[in-house]
């Protein structure tokens, strides 16, 4: 943001047409407030205001044990709850030097990918709705229901499932898990082409998406835009490839990169990632090794004094956890580098100069989850 704009905002000497999008607005997907300055219908600049649901998760972590922290991380990016849980568990396992059973790694990876698909499905339907195609919303939710049913059967909850614990899993997965997951993969493979016919090929949709919200690779790296949004700008940032964890080193998959740099490129990355996730699940689901569902852990976890850092790929980008431990049972300082935090603040850079309707498309293509920004 340049100097004069800030002066403009602070001094209030502008003759601009300023509208406040949010905190309650149908397309901000949560309590995000965008102060948008318009010239006609064109966005001159925008200022995101966050903090409406700041809950102080990092402060709460300093008073909780590592087991208790896990259920807090669910509430950050609630659409990729499993990956958030896994990040904390892995940092504890790293620090304690616990070897996790193979079975746990496989199951965690499958759940990661199922969660990723569920998250992308919800993104797809919300993105369609942002652009005015209301039917996509219901098709996406209908198919997401199948994944949530699998989750409910195994974890007992549909969205915020604190199913992972340091050392392994809370329980073994339900006996039906393999069967139902395979059924889902088969079912969803017939539904994904419908998504393409309904939106991807649609001429109105393409006109709304192609060439909008240009984010160059340098911008993406500079602002730390990761995940599908970053990969839509040809920024190779998939932690699953850079530093494989879980069973990702045992499967064949491609990191989806699109050089388009626009809304449509980010859209295509996510659509391709759903296919990629299905293929990962297919490779793993039949080969889950037998064994324990958890490694042996002490009931009270005390991390050795030191600093630990761990990166995980969530559905929205790179989640990094940084822990400073002083040897106690709760962390001295815990920092979550959440993907949406960085992804949000690129908005001003990439939405200026486009129409107000494009602003909605751009914010939809970044796939923001507001609790993840505020924490």
């Amino acid at each position: 943001m340049s100097e004069e704009i800030i002066k403009d905002v602070i001094v209030g000497e502008h003759e601009d047409y300023i509208i406040n999008m949010g905190p309650q607005h149908p397309s901000t997907h949560g309590v995000l407030r965008l102060e948008v300055c318009l010239k006609g219908e064109t966005v001159k600049y925008l200022v995101p205001h966050v903090g409406y649901i700041h809950r102080g998760i990092e402060k709460m972590c300093e008073a909780n044990t590592y087991q208790q922290i896990i259920h807090l991380t669910d509430r950050m990016d609630y659409l990729s709850a499993h990956m958030n849980n896994e990040a904390v568990c892995m940092i504890v396992e790293d620090a304690m030097q616990v070897e996790v059973p193979e079975r746990v790694k496989y199951i965690r990876t499958i759940l990661d990918e199922l969660n990723r698909i569920a998250s992308h499905q919800l993104w797809w339907c919300a993105f369609g709705m942002d652009l005015g195609a209301l039917t996509s919303f219901f098709y996406g939710l209908r198919d997401r229901e199948h994944i949530l049913d699998i989750f409910e059967e195994s974890f007992g909850s549909r969205l915020l499932h604190s199913f992972v614990c340091p050392g392994g899993l809370m329980h073994d997965v339900h006996p039906n898990f393999q069967k139902r997951t395979k059924e889902f993969v088969k079912y969803f493979k017939t539904k994904l082409p419908e998504y393409d016919q309904l939106l991807t090929g649609n001429i109105i949709f393409q006109n709304r998406a192609i060439g909008i919200g240009h984010m160059s690779r340098e911008t993406a790296i500079g602002f730390g835009v990761t995940g599908p949004s970053g990969r839509g700008s040809n920024f190779s940032c998939d932690v699953r490839k850079i530093a494989p964890y879980g069973a990702y080193d045992k499967v064949q998959f491609n990191e989806i990169l699109e050089p388009g740099c626009d809304v449509f490129a980010r859209y295509k990355v996510r659509m391709a990632e759903m296919w990629e996730s299905l293929s990962i699940i297919e490779q793993l689901i039949d080969n889950i090794p037998e064994g324990d569902y958890t490694a042996k852990m002490k009931p009270i976890i005390k991390l050795p004094a030191g600093e630990y850092f761990r990166r995980v790929e969530t559905a929205r980008g790179e989640l990094a956890v940084y822990v400073v431990s002083d040897g106690n049972k709760s962390p001295y300082r815990m920092k979550f580098r959440t993907p949406n935090f960085s992804n949000l603040f690129v908005m001003n850079e990439i939405a200026s100069g486009y129409k107000i309707a494009d602003l909605i498309a751009i914010s939809g293509s970044l796939d923001l989850v507001i609790p993840d920004i505020d924490r």
């Binding site: 700041h54 102080g56 850092f309 940084y322 300082r333 580098r337 603040f345």
Partner: protein, 152 residues
Amino acid sequence: MLNKEELSEIIRKYVPEAVFPEGTQLLEVIVPSEQYLSLAEKLKSDPALAFDYLITQTAVDFTTKFTVVCHLDSVKFRHMLVLKSELTDRDNPAIDSLSGLYPTAEFFEREIFDLFGIRFNNHPNMKRLFLEDDYGYPLRKDFRDEINIIER
């Protein structure tokens, strides 16, 4: 990709007084706060290092000092570095801003200012990010809030 030794050698060339703690997970370097920005500039511009991606920037309150921690990554080489700088002035901590180098630092630094009260020099918009103006700095260890925080 450079390993820890090679990286530390190059950095030592730039900042002779840099301290490299032993036995850390990633390579860590602690520099005086005056050389923090100049080292970051060199880390980014040196083609052999090319630390162009700021993963995260945060601070830790060690009651006697604040440590500003930056996790840097190179997209080209995929080596990582933890850049640290310590601030002993508790009442008025200040350090140079990295927002000129990494645009994302602008918002990480606003968050740090919000939660720790560390000021960043030459920051374009040094305002609180999440909390209201008179809230105090909640992630400082001496922060007390009798009304909203119940201690068990």
